[in-house]
Amino acid sequence: MQGLAGVAACGTVSGTGAAAPPKPYMPVFFNAAEWNFLLAACDRLIPADANGPGALALNVPRFIDQQMTTPYAQGAQWYMAAPFVQGPDNLGYQLPYPPRDLYRHGIAGMNAHATTRHAKPFAALAPDVQDDLLRAAEGGRLVFGDVPSAAFFDQLLANVMEGAFSDPIHGGNTGLGGWAMLGFPGARADFMDWVDRYGAHYPLGSVSITGETA
């Protein structure tokens, strides 16, 4: 586990200066193989580059792991009554799986596919091969038992975006790095003096619910 968590700790740091290395995070929901996948996939979905930090520096995997213990991940907010009948895509999600189950099935499916095709789990593949696999999952070209790969991919991508850009109180967006790259002021929520300063650059940095600034 230590070694795996270390991947997060070594995640590429944002261009805006290296912070102290984050403490290794021990996942609560994901097992070692799943966590390994999650770290690798997050790194591809939001890579660190000249435009700003990547998902690992923003601790997106930690965010997702922490979300998995909320009622949301158990489907508490979704209508989950049977029967589950599949229909056209535009009529929406019809699987009996809450987010937690989608992750369990989806990650196992991705790793099984990677192992069959490339004799290695997803995390051990080269980045461009990982990208191909993610694109195949996104396009619905893989099937993991009764979970279409696009359903898993959409769940993952949605949570990755949430992790990178939500308030750090939820475990991601470390150092407000997601907000800083967008120029989003976060929880400032008061533009009384700025609303009609047309075209001027908003001078204040981001602030979080707990008062952290960037």
Binding site: R44, L45, I46, P47, D49, N51, G52, Y72, G75, A76, Q77, W78, Y79, M80, A81, P83, V85, G87, P88, D89, N90, L91, G92, Y93, Q94, D131, L134, E138, L157, A158, V160, M161, E162, A164, F165, S166, D167, I169, H170, G178, W179, M181, L182, G183, F184, P185, G186, A187, A189, D190, F191, M192, W194, V195, D196, Y198, G199, H201, Y202, I209
Partner: protein, 595 residues
């Protein structure tokens, strides 16, 4: 009803649902000296609680975990595009976001606050006068409301004063008085507050629209532009454009809500009682079936309780009202095959598409600044403000920049221009550029009513109380698609005048079915419409059931077809209008108000 049901002490009026419609009706009935019990299925909520800064300023909770919205796990709808399909449950929030809890969606709506255009209130008559009856496409159920703008004007005015609405009038008592919407009808008074300031994108849109020759105006907004005290004596503070508006309780007490504008007074009234966490199962009727005797509900402990009442007012939101009527046997259910019955008939939505305009990379559009009801619109292609003759479609669409505050997760999801990947470095570059330098323009069109678009009860799926879910049969029709495409092209003209670097015009596509996965709006309408003919309306023009005279049903369910405007201004006016007739006529002489 089960034998172990408890029966409570009778009251004069039961109000089902604690949103705008319910709060207005409860206030009016207590003013009339009646005892009122308000039953709300969700929790009690207040601005001091749910709106407290900074905890409320949390996009994940507000817009992605739907903290203040309906608990779909207990109750949802099923949806299909046509009667040959099996409707499937709407399992996750997406296309529309119904509210729940005290205040209803009124606690966390946006605040765009319109009056219904006079022509829309008599659209069938107007279309026939202008273009002849043959102009109405086969299968379109075009109808009049049975009430005119002149009749409703005092109630639009009252609602604006209660909501503390900011805006600029065009005509007051027939005199042009300001820079308001040139297409809007005369008013008896100004808006209670001056318009909100334009955010930068709205300012640019106003200039460009005027240059093209359209007639831009400030959106009327129930977000207070200044401090305000409403006729009930409650106070609002000035909106600071915080950008956490749609989906949030307003921590500044600036956005009108039942919780801020009505309930503080109502809660203290000795004739009023609020019961939260009480889910109404059905309206009970006497042996003749023509009189309601009260309602049965499940209380917070899960006990089934009957509350007898002289009068039942359904204010549970558009489709929940329709469902309660169907579950209670009030009015004849609609049968699309025989084309008979009225409850479920003329179900409509909002025909909205959002286009994106990219400005010079040096221009920062600051999309995170905004108020839910603020912005700039033009109505040159709304309602009957333009000649539909050569265009060959019914209905129209206001066009606007209504920047309610785009936050970071939403920005990340919207991504870059079409063709940009949804992830990886290319997504990142496109998304950051789009977030910083683009703006959004909506064509907020009307959706007409059609014979084969309707609501009924689902044969398969049930709610947490064992009652059938409501089933929606809905799709976009050619008339409405053509209307959208025509108006969206006008957005293209404005974008050009803005000096756009890039434009993505979002048009409705022929043959592309209604997609329940994409957020559109919560402006659902019809299904139990008002009118003057009991063959084509479930309610008379006073919002009273034709069949059960002591049941009044208030909500956007009353709209015979969709409109280009947001619904709540009309819902509030209809509530005051119905309350006026209940107070002046019905209470002294209970019975049908129209015959």
């Amino acid at each position: 009803m089960s034998d172990d049901a408890r029966t409570l002490k009778p009251v004069d009026v039961v109000v089902v649902g604690g949103g705008w419609a319910g709060s207005i009706m409860a206030k009016e009935m207590t003013e009339a000296g009646r005892t009122v019990v308000m039953l709300e299925r969700g929790p009690d909520r207040s601005t001091a609680g749910e709106g407290a800064y900074p905890a409320s300023i949390d996009e994940l909770e507000g817009n992605f975990r739907y903290k203040l919205f309906q608990d779909l796990s207990k109750n949802t709808v099923t949806i299909r595009n046509n009667a040959n399909q099996t409707a499937l449950p709407y399992r996750r929030m997406a296309a529309f976001l119904p509210g729940e809890g005290v205040g209803g969606a009124g606690l966390h709506w946006s605040g765009v606050h319109f009056r219904m255009p006079p022509d829309d209130l008599r659209l069938r008559s107007r279309v026939i006068e202008k273009y002849g009856a043959k102009f109405i496409p086969e299968g379109m159920n075009l109808q009049d409301y049975g009430v005119t703008y002149e009749e409703l004007e005092p109630f639009f005015d009252k609602a604006e004063k209660v909501f503390g609405t900011s805006g600029e009038a065009y005509k007051v008592n027939g005199q042009v008085v300001g820079q308001g919407n040139v297409f809007s009808p005369s008013r008896s008074d100004h808006f209670p507050l001056p318009p909100l300031k334009d955010v930068y994108t709205a300012h640019l849109f106003r200039k460009a629209a005027a240059e093209v020759g359209f007639h831009p105006y400030s959106l009327p907004a129930a977000n207070a532009s200044q401090q305000y005290t409403n006729p009930y004596g409650v106070q609002m503070g000035p909106c600071n454009f915080c950008g956490y508006c749609s989906g949030y309780a307003c921590y500044m007490y600036s956005k009108a809500s039942p919780n801020v504008n009505i309930l503080p007074v109502l809660r203290r009234h000795p004739l009023f009682e609020l019961r939260a966490n009480c889910h109404v199962l059905k309206v009970e009727r006497d042996s003749t079936g023509t009189r309601a005797t009260g309602v049965t509900y499940t209380d917070a402990e899960g006990k089934v309780v009957t509350q007898p009442a002289e009068m039942v007012i359904l204010t549970a939101f558009q489709f929940h009202n329709v469902r309660l009527m169907l579950l209670s046997g009030i009015g004849k259910p609609y049968d699309p095959v025989k084309n008979e019955g009225v409850v479920g008939r003329n179900f409509v939505y909002q025909n909205v598409t959002t286009s994106v305009v990219w400005l010079d990379p040096k221009v920062e559009t600051n999309q995170y600044i905004g108020a839910g009801g603020g912005g700039v619109a033009f109505d040159d292609f709304n309602s009957e403000n333009f000649d539909h003759g050569p265009l060959g479609f019914v209905g129209g669409s206001p066009v606007w920049v209504n920047q309610a505050g785009v936050k970071a997760i939403a920005g990340a999801h919207s991504g870059g221009p079409p063709g940009t990947p949804r992830w990886g470095s290319a997504w990142k570059a496109g998304m950051i550029d789009t977030y910083r330098h683009s703006l959004r323009i909506d064509a907020h069109g009307a959706n007409m009513a059609y014979r084969d678009v309707y609501l009924d009860l689902d044969p398969t799926w049930k709610d947490a109380y064992g009652q059938p879910l409501l089933r929606m049969t809905f799709d976009w029709k050619d008339n409405d698609i053509r209307m959208n495409r025509y108006v969206v092209d006008r957005i293209g003209d404005v974008a050009k005048a803005m000096g756009a670097r890039n434009v993505h015009l979002t048009r409705r596509e022929f043959g592309k079915p209604f997609d329940t996965r994409q957020y559109q709006t919560t402006h659902l309408g019809g299904g139990a419409v008002m009118g003057t003919d009991p063959q084509t309306s479930a309610l008379n023009r006073y919002m009273q059931s034709w069949d059960v005279h002591n049941v009044f049903v208030i909500g956007a369910n009353a709209f015979p077809q969709g409109t280009g405007y947001n619904p709540t201004g009309m819902v509030a006016a209809l509530a005051y209008w119905a309350a006026h007739h209940i107070r002046t006529t019905y209470l002294a002489h209970p019975g049908p108000l129209a015959g």
